[in-house]
């Protein structure tokens, strides 16, 4: 499946079907993240059940503390 993640096209492996999978794909599963799918913010409690479709535009922001 192809997704647009943070503005760039990314080919996802077969098993990726939910927002949670996308987050894990980028190694952000232990981070605090904000995710938007097709311009709609996704509540973090729904990461695991929010299905992502072919061509979905996903924005992911993860929080960091450095400065």
């Amino acid at each position: 499946m192809k997704l647009i993640v943070n503005g760039q096209p990314v080919e996802m492996p077969e098993h990726v079907t939910t927002v949670q999978h996308v987050i894990a794909h980028f190694g952000l599963e232990n981070r605090i993240v904000v995710v938007e799918v097709d311009a709609q913010i996704v509540d973090k409690h729904h990461f695991a059940d929010r299905i992502v479709d072919e061509g979905a535009r996903i924005e992911i922001v993860h929080f960091v503390g450095g400065g």
Binding site: Q8, V34, E59, V61, H62, G65, G66, G67
Partner: protein, 358 residues
């Protein structure tokens, strides 16, 4: 006597005043504003320089650290001389900034910002710039901002990545709305490295937002959580207004400001990736560093060697460990991540000194 053309004048801001949305009126507004910058590391020194050059009338800087070699690659206010003198960052920043713009009042405080310090320093502040290197301080700052209804601009970076968000109390979600727990240290770890452009990009967002806020251009505010990765060429902005929580303990109707409630206790923290422990006494002290340094030299020179002392701190070492003791009783113990070992060295130092409570 300086010739007239050598005197600084309002004309120094001509390019900024020619920028329509700021104009002469906006410049005047900037001159009447007071900005508090929490942290004077990479973000703080960059932010401070921009705001001071821009003519913000009053800038207060808080920082707990001193200048080291590894800072110079990105912390643009500091020099090799500052490193050699182990200057506290807040002091070095003030000295440098005063040479850039003498018309700005700059106050500097060498301290580890806790609630009570911020409550004391917040009077008259129009805006808080986040330049912290840890989430713990940011949550304190978030509570202060919510309690006194002062806007603050979150900014953080690591590697080539950074993000920023402008928090307006009573309007946007706050930091507690965005995350219900304090993220642990892993994400601010120095081992991941950082490049200067990531710092400058975060600060570019923060200071542009600051100009908009301080000159009354609220309609121009970004209002989204912005992030970027300069190495992977990614730019993102998300509208997070929906994250605002009615029952938020920091900004909700029944706010309790949980991060201002923490009791004054002794605190020890391992500074991630720096092989350093930060120790903070339960109450601020006022150490007589000159006498302490003399006592070490006369009676304890077999265990401890004094490296340098200035008006703000004393640096000494014992074998591989180096301790930097500040006037307020805080210490950074380098060369260890063992809190017990750090504390042991600290207590040895404190016991030598004549302690007086502030």
């Amino acid at each position: 006597m300086m010739a007239e053309q050598d005197q600084p004048s309002f004309d120094r801001y001509s390019r900024q005043m020619s920028f329509g949305p700021i104009g002469t009126a906006g410049q005047q507004q900037l001159a009447e504003c007071h900005v508090l910058i929490v942290g004077a590391g990479a973000l703080g020194s960059t932010s401070a320089e921009t705001l001071v050059r821009a003519g913000v009338g009053h800038v207060t800087i808080i920082d707990r650290d001193y200048v080291e070699w590894s800072n110079l690659q990105r912390q643009q206010l500091y020099t090799e001389e500052n490193v050699r003198q182990r200057m506290p960052k807040a002091i070095a920043a003030k000295q440098h900034l005063e040479r850039i713009n003498a018309n700005v009042q700059i106050d500097a405080y060498v301290l580890d910002a806790r609630g009570e310090d911020l409550e004391r320093l917040i009077t008259g502040v129009d805006l808080i710039m986040d330049a912290c290197d840890n989430f713990e301080t940011r949550f304190i700052l978030n509570d202060i901002a919510a309690k006194y209804r002062i806007p603050w601009i979150y900014g953080a970076c690591i590697g080539s990545y950074g993000l920023s968000y402008t928090i307006l109390p009573g309007d946007t979600p706050c930091l507690s709305c965005m995350m219900d727990i304090i993220p642990n240290g892993g994400e601010s770890c120095d081992v991941d490295g950082i490049i200067a452009p990531a710092v400058q990009m975060v600060v570019a967002h923060q200071t542009a937002e600051a100009f908009k806020l301080l000159t009354g251009n609220h309609d121009a505010l970004h209002r989204k959580l912005v992030s970027f990765d300069l190495w992977n060429n990614q730019y993102t902005a998300i509208n997070i207004q929906a994250m605002k929580k009615q029952g938020c303990s920091s900004c909700g109707d029944q706010a309790t400001y949980p991060y201002l409630q923490s009791p004054a206790t002794e605190k020890a923290a391992i500074l991630c990736g720096r092989d350093t422990v930060h120790l903070r006494p339960s109450e601020a002290m006022k150490l007589d560093l000159r006498t302490l340094s003399e006592q070490i030299r006369q009676y304890h020179s077999r265990q401890l060697q004094v490296d340098i002392m200035n008006d703000f701190l004393l640096s000494a070492h014992r074998d591989e460990q180096r301790i930097v003791l500040f006037v307020d009783g805080r210490a950074l113990v380098h060369g260890t991540t063992d809190i017990q070992a750090a504390r042991q060295l600290y207590i040895q130092m404190i016991n030598i000194s004549t302690v007086s409570t502030r």
